[in-house]
């Protein structure tokens, strides 16, 4: 039984070293961030209202968030995929996801019924499912952040 477990762990480790698997993870998380960004860049006013609906920040901060956050998501997603500062983008994406998880959790606790605003017009409720989904993206993003491997990158980074 133990040997099965060891074999399973070995297989997992092998996968996390596999450059094609790591590239796939980059494409998934980067792609989701790019998609989320484009839908919001297309309609900044609607997104500004979505941010305001969370009732955490006022008018000015909601507006600034609405014009800057989607571009941050887009550039971080692109950088992760093409491999320009992939570690910085993985760190930024992880940070954003932790922030989103906390934001939705606080909103649920406060009992505010709100559209998440995540994908512009394709939005849905900010609920527990959204938190679980964000945890999935966060775990992938953390794998990429801590992975020492550096293949298919436009700008090769130092090995840390």
């Amino acid at each position: 039984m133990d040997s099965f477990r060891v074999a399973g762990r070995k297989k997992q480790k092998m996968m996390l070293k596999n450059k094609y698997f790591l590239l796939l993870l980059r494409l998934i998380v980067g792609g989701i961030f790019i998609w989320a960004a484009i839908s919001k860049i297309a309609d900044p006013l609607t997104f500004a209202q979505d941010v305001k609906n969370y009732r955490l920040v006022g008018q000015t901060l909601s507006f600034l968030t609405a014009i800057i956050l989607p571009w941050t998501e887009l550039i971080a997603g692109l950088c992760l995929i093409i491999g320009v500062y992939p570690r910085s983008s993985a760190l930024l994406i992880s940070g954003l996801l932790i922030f989103f998880i906390l934001l939705v959790a606080i909103t649920i606790i406060r009992g505010i019924d709100v559209e998440c605003g995540c994908f512009g017009t394709f939005s849905r409720k900010a609920d527990l499912w959204l938190i679980l989904e964000d945890f999935l993206w966060l775990s992938i993003s953390l794998i990429l952040l801590f992975s020492p491997y550096n293949d298919f990158c436009l700008l090769r980074r130092k090995k840390v």
Partner: protein, 164 residues
């Protein structure tokens, strides 16, 4: 983690990404930024071109329209809040019920007269969201009383209870 965070390249990349995002955000939205700082979106992020008939009114304007019977007053709060007290002669169209698919409620809104829509006041948003739905249904004269129920009661104007 320590190694990653102590690596200068990580922080340099982070700064470049954030700087570029701020720059592009401001450049691509230059028109909106100008409109924002000239005070256009003070009350809500509503594009005038998208909803031309939607305006925000003060307590004095709401009271004038109500006392002269020049508008239909629409309450977008929940049915239970409406029962506890509302502006006299207002009709109850709870946004949450409309969102849950009860479109028959919207049939209650008479056409042809301006609508004054209100919710609790303060930061409440149901009046704005209901106004957007009504706009899509062909109502073109929509006035949001942003002070809402809070401002109405605080000013000592008449209220009505238990009527649906």
């Amino acid at each position: 983690m320590k190694k990653i965070l102590s690596d200068r390249e990580t922080w340099l990349g982070l700064l470049i990404i954030l700087g570029l995002a701020v720059l592009l955000g401001f450049i691509t939205n230059a028109g909106l930024v100008k409109r924002f700082f000239s005070g256009e979106f003070k009350q809500a992020f509503v594009n005038k071109e998208q909803y031309p008939g939607l305006v925000f009114i003060t307590l004095a304007e709401a009271e004038f329209l109500w006392s002269n019977h020049q508008a239909v007053i629409v309450d977008s709060r929940s049915a239970s809040e409406f029962k506890r007290g509302h502006i006299p002669e207002a009709i109850s169209i709870p946004l949450e019920e409309v969102k849950n698919g009860n479109n028959a409620l919207l049939e209650k809104v008479p056409k042809g007269k301006p609508l004054v829509i209100y919710c609790e006041g303060g930061d409440c948003l149901t009046s704005l969201n209901l106004a957007k739905i009504l706009y899509e249904r062909g109502f073109q004269d929509l006035r949001i009383f942003s002070g809402g129920w809070g401002e109405w009661t605080a000013s000592g104007l008449p209220v009505e209870k238990n009527r649906r």
